[in-house]
């Protein structure tokens, strides 16, 4: 059997605990996630899914334990290779889609042409002048995804991308995620609607009370 190299892992967590004052969100997550796969993270509210994602994204630092992403623990230096989409849109309501993306493209130092590509990739019209605040929920989520993939991330973290999104948009987004995965990029998707990703997910990760309790390549029947 070939030796497993550290670089083969997109994310390794070792005893990660995250505590906010009197509340804990993670209480010892130890796991390895291979690169180039699509992981679906499932669990009840308060199980620590979002916090795990934020820790991987480098937004929150673990209280104890270490987390390493793409082979390094200093996630700060990796930011150009990470994409993050949260439950809130992470967009300015008073600007149009392209204006939003142009600003963020500047932060990543990617060319402006990339903005149009990203918007087209999520099936929106880059010339739409409407402000993001006036978008429908489905459009806003798609624009939010466009922002997350602006920098062609090697690691894409999505927190509830399909919530309040109509069926058709959700399927389009899922198809796009499949395409990204097929480019050998790693995806983590937190969702309450695993059914949408059943056909494309590589692994389902179950979380409970701040710990990973189970991992399986098939969706548990009760969750379908």
């Amino acid at each position: 059997m070939a030796e497993i190299q550290l670089n083969d892992y997109a994310v390794t967590a070792d005893g990660v605990v995250k505590q906010f004052g009197r509340f804990a969100a993670l209480r010892g997550v130890t796991a390895h996630f291979a690169a180039g796969k699509l992981y679906v993270i499932l669990g009840d509210n308060g199980a620590g899914k979002s916090t795990l994602l934020r820790t991987i994204a480098g937004l929150a630092q673990p209280t104890r334990g270490t987390i390493s992403v793409l082979g390094t623990t200093s996630i700060k230096n990796l930011r150009a290779q990470i994409g993050y989409m949260a439950h809130p849109s992470l967009l300015y309501d008073e600007m149009s889609g392209i204006e939003n993306l142009r600003y963020f493209a500047g932060l990543y130092g990617v060319p402006e042409a990339r903005c149009r590509e990203a918007i087209e990739a999520v099936n929106l019209d880059p010339d739409l002048e409407r402000l993001v605040g006036q978008y429908s929920q489905g459009m806003r989520q798609r624009m939010s995804l466009a922002r997350a993939i602006l920098n062609d991330p090697k690691l894409l973290l999505l927190d509830e991308p399909f919530s309040n999104v109509d069926f058709r948009s959700a399927h389009e987004m899922a198809a796009l995620l499949a395409k990204i995965r097929d480019r050998r990029e790693t995806l983590f998707v937190v969702t309450h609607q695993p059914g949408l990703l059943q056909s494309i997910a590589d692994e389902f990760v179950y979380m409970e009370a701040g710990k990973i309790t189970d991992r399986s390549s098939k969706l548990r029947t009760t969750e379908q």
Partner: protein, 228 residues
């Protein structure tokens, strides 16, 4: 450790009693101010002690930012809190002194008293911040605020110093040399108060360690309960 604590408590009690005797009885009566001058033996050592504690707060905040050692953070918190207690003593005894000597309770132009008041305000806001923080990294934020507060001290001092040159007011103990007997009593009192500060800080330190253990246990428990 327990024995060390008891020993320190004993030494502190003895020193404080001796210092009290020295301050009230052994020290000579000052000629112009009379017995009121004896407030000096509590007021000034308390101020020095508070400054030492705030200095410890500053140093341990920097150490925390560099080393990320939780002990440094606890020390920063403890020294600020005990420092505020001593600072309170200074601010309360100051006016009690000023009233019979100058005929006024407060002289805004007095550098030391006013600087102490500003320090008191700064460290109170530091302690309030620590209590109100929702961050998962309260120690980092607290350390940053502590450093800002410490940087402010020389600016406060100079601004009040210059303010005084424009608005003259009497100064406590400024100029003039101190009778050596008085200086001795002053130093004995300072030693006693430093011991008291050490004792209080030690107690508070242990309390904080216990508090954090409880907090962590509670945090984990609340998470488990939430999942049921």
């Amino acid at each position: 450790m327990k024995r060390g604590f008891t020993l320190l408590a004993l030494v502190t009690a003895l020193l404080l009693s001796f210092a009290l005797y020295e301050a009230l009885i052994a020290a000579p009566t000052e000629q112009t101010m009379g017995n009121v001058q004896r407030i000096f033996y509590y007021h000034v050592p308390s101020a020095w002690t508070a400054f030492v504690l705030f200095l410890i707060n500053f140093v341990s905040s920097i150490v925390y930012l560099i080393r990320r050692n939780p002990k440094a953070d606890i020390l920063a918190l403890v020294s600020a809190e005990v420092g505020v207690v001593f600072c309170t003593v200074v601010i309360v005894t100051g006016p009690i002194w000023a009233r019979p000597v100058w005929g006024i309770w407060w002289a805004p132009g007095d550098i030391r008293l006013t600087t102490t008041l500003v320090l008191w305000l700064i460290y109170i806001s530091y302690l309030v911040l620590r209590r109100f923080s929702t961050s998962g990294r309260t120690p980092v934020i607290a350390a940053v605020v502590a450093i800002f507060g410490a940087l402010d001290v020389p600016l406060v001092y100079f601004s009040i110093w210059f303010f005084r040159t424009q608005h003259p007011s009497p100064v406590i103990g400024g100029g003039g040399s101190l009778d050596p007997r008085m200086a001795r009593v002053l130093l004995i009192n300072w030693a006693a108060f430093m011991c008291l500060a050490w004792l209080l800080s030690w107690t508070r330190y242990e309390l904080e360690v216990a508090k954090r253990q409880v907090e962590e246990a509670q945090a984990l428990e609340s998470l488990l309960e939430g999942s049921r």
